[in-house]
């Protein structure tokens, strides 16, 4: 069943036509990878889904409802959570305050338990819970950004280049975490320039090029695809 359906969306920055009719689908429980080179429109696609931007044409359908013009802050409680490009932790808030902000839209009594669960998942964050987030290393900030997004109890998690700027050792950890989150039943839309890793964890993938979907296939087939191998996997 389709949890998210993106229907021919066109999104602009002023006069710049960034997305030129993008369509794809994400089913419940899937991990979907969006790959593409710099400037292809990956971030803009996530920003349009999460409500930070509004498409000028086309629709974003989530859970059967048109959310094309819903504001970002109203979508969090409906289950869409995003880890922005560059992590976006609140540097002047402590680690724990960042996690509290992740649960801002929630009003239930399970927040305390979820916080404990998050510390179980990321023990480093517990050690540093009273520290300002700005003092964490890049890898720790990425963990914090992911944990903060999970505090909202999302059904759909949007991840924008979670491996960006991380040492190779840490990249493996991030992808392990992504798989673990998916195994808990969270649907994941993963944007990556690291196509190699992304296609290893994903079920299906879409290749974006200049604001359009160039190729779409299962992750396995994409890994075998010649164009993908040449352009994104560095295989000749």
């Amino acid at each position: 069943m389709g949890l998210l359906e993106v229907n021919d969306i066109h999104t602009y920055y002023g006069n710049i036509h960034a997305l030129k009719g993008i369509s794809f689908e994400v089913d419940s429980g899937e991990i979907i990878a969006l790959i593409g080179s710099n400037g292809a429109g990956k971030t803009t696609t996530l920003r349009t889904i999460s409500g930070l931007m509004e498409p000028r044409e086309g629709q974003v359908i989530y859970d059967g409802e048109d959310i094309s013009s819903a504001r970002a802050d109203t979508l969090v409680s409906r289950g869409i959570s995003m880890v922005p490009e560059g992590r976006g932790v609140f540097a002047k808030l402590t680690v724990e305050e960042n996690l509290d902000m992740g649960a801002y839209a929630r009003r239930d009594s399970g927040i305390k338990d979820d916080l404990k669960g998050m510390y179980g998942l990321f023990p480093r964050l517990q050690e540093r819970r009273r520290q300002l987030a700005g003092t964490l290393s890049g890898g720790e900030q990425q963990m914090l950004a992911i944990a903060r997004a999970l505090m909202a109890q999302p059904r759909l998690l949007l991840l924008d280049e979670p491996s960006m700027g991380l040492a190779p050792v840490l990249v493996d950890g991030v992808f392990d975490t992504i798989q673990r989150i998916a195994s808990e039943g969270v649907t994941i839309l993963l944007v990556e320039q690291n196509a190699h890793m992304a296609l290893q964890v994903a079920d299906r993938g879409y290749v974006l090029q200049s604001g359009e979907v160039a190729i779409s296939d299962t992750a396995e087939n994409l890994q075998q695809n010649e164009t993908v191998q040449k352009t994104y996997l560095g295989i000749d």
Partner: protein
């Protein structure tokens, strides 16, 4: 500092350095003359200091409004002096009514709490309306635009109150419980000064608790750091911005009542202008956008204003030193902007942080 010795000599740096030296010299000579003359006793210095702290804590309460709004929108709400006036002026009527019924002197604590709540709510409403009507539609436009709007809004508020209540002064009724002095080891401090300082301190502690400990306070800090990510957390940033204006307004209104009980000359439609500029000075002094900075900046300015003229100006033989109080504040503003635009604790007042 002292860069003009090397190749990159510039007349601006040179002038600024000469200014520095002259100021330091003037302060030292003036202070030396005053202290060596023994014209002012120790007890008198303590009294000046205490009066300065009280006045300064009122500046601090108003300064917090500037700094909160700047912290969240990088905008200076130049109509904030009028937000202070609105609460102070409206509540003078409530104070008179409470005085007529005798409640003010029978239950001074309750009566003053009631007045503070009332003034706080009036100023809060004015600040929120200001944000909704005058500033929100202009968000994202060049910085000069909301600044001009703020000046227009100031005039609008001043002349609205003048139209409603005339241009005369109205004094807050005296509260018996606040009269008299407290004796501490041969030094007598007026009760009203102790009240002003403690009331302001209590309000500032409440603010600290709000910003540091509560959900909405964390949201305020998150919005001030990154609006887009704050929205991704589910924070309605328009609401948080409105709330911030409201908090700043509430503090300004309370300052209005405290000020009214402290200063006998009364309130009128124009009363917000000077305290507004002084509180702005205090906020810049402490580092605009920085909450403890605004508190310290306010106290510091109040004390400097009280002590400075007597210590430095009188020592330099300048006549009528105490009438030059206001000059001190504005000189401080200019000096801070020249020498340390980021203030004592704060970040630079800049175009870059967006």
């Amino acid at each position: 500092m002292f860069k003009w010795r090397s190749d990159d000599f510039s007349w601006v740096d040179f002038t600024i350095d000469v200014l520095r030296v002259l100021i330091v010299l003037g302060v030292v000579v003036g202070a030396w003359n005053t202290l060596s003359s023994g014209r002012i006793s120790f007890a008198q210095w303590v009294n000046l200091f205490a009066a300065g702290l009280s006045q300064g804590s009122i500046y601090a309460l108003i300064a917090l409004g500037y700094t909160l709004v700047y912290g969240i929108l990088l905008m200076i709400n130049f109509a904030h002096g009028e937000v202070f006036m609105a609460g102070a002026f409206s509540t003078v009527f409530l104070a008179e009514a409470l005085n007529r019924t005798g409640f003010l002197n029978e239950q001074p604590v309750l009566a003053i709490l009631l007045m503070i709540a009332f003034a706080g709510l009036v100023s809060m409403s004015v600040a929120i309306l200001l944000e909704r009507i005058a500033y929100r539609p202009l968000r994202g436009s060049p910085r000069l635009v909301p600044l001009i709007t703020a000046i227009g809004a100031s005039f609008f508020l001043q002349y609205t109150f003048r139209g409603l209540y005339g241009s005369g002064f109205k004094a807050y009724p005296g509260v018996k419980a606040l009269q008299g002095v407290i004796q501490i080891g041969g030094i007598s401090i007026p009760v009203v000064q102790v009240f002003v300082f403690c009331a302001a301190l209590l309000l500032m502690l409440c603010l600290y608790w709000l910003v540091e400990r509560t959900r909405v306070g964390k949201a305020m800090r998150a919005v001030s750091e990154n609006k887009e990510v704050a929205r991704l957390m589910g924070i309605d940033i328009d609401w948080v911005i409105m709330f911030t204006f409201g908090v700043g307004g509430f503090l300004a209104g309370s300052a209005g009542v405290i000020n009214g009980l402290f200063r006998p000359q009364g309130v009128n439609f124009y009363m917000g202008f000077i305290p507004g500029i002084k509180a702005f000075t205090a906020a810049v002094l402490g580092g605009i956008g920085n909450i403890p900075g605004a508190m310290l900046g306010g106290l510091f300015l109040g004390v400097i204003e009280a002590i400075g003229p007597n210590l430095v100006l009188a020592g330099l033989g300048i006549p009528g030193a105490n009438q030059l109080k206001d000059v001190i504040a504005f000189t401080m503003l200019v000096l801070v902007l020249i020498f340390r635009p980021q203030g004592i604790l704060g970040e630079r007042l800049s175009e870059t942080k967006a």
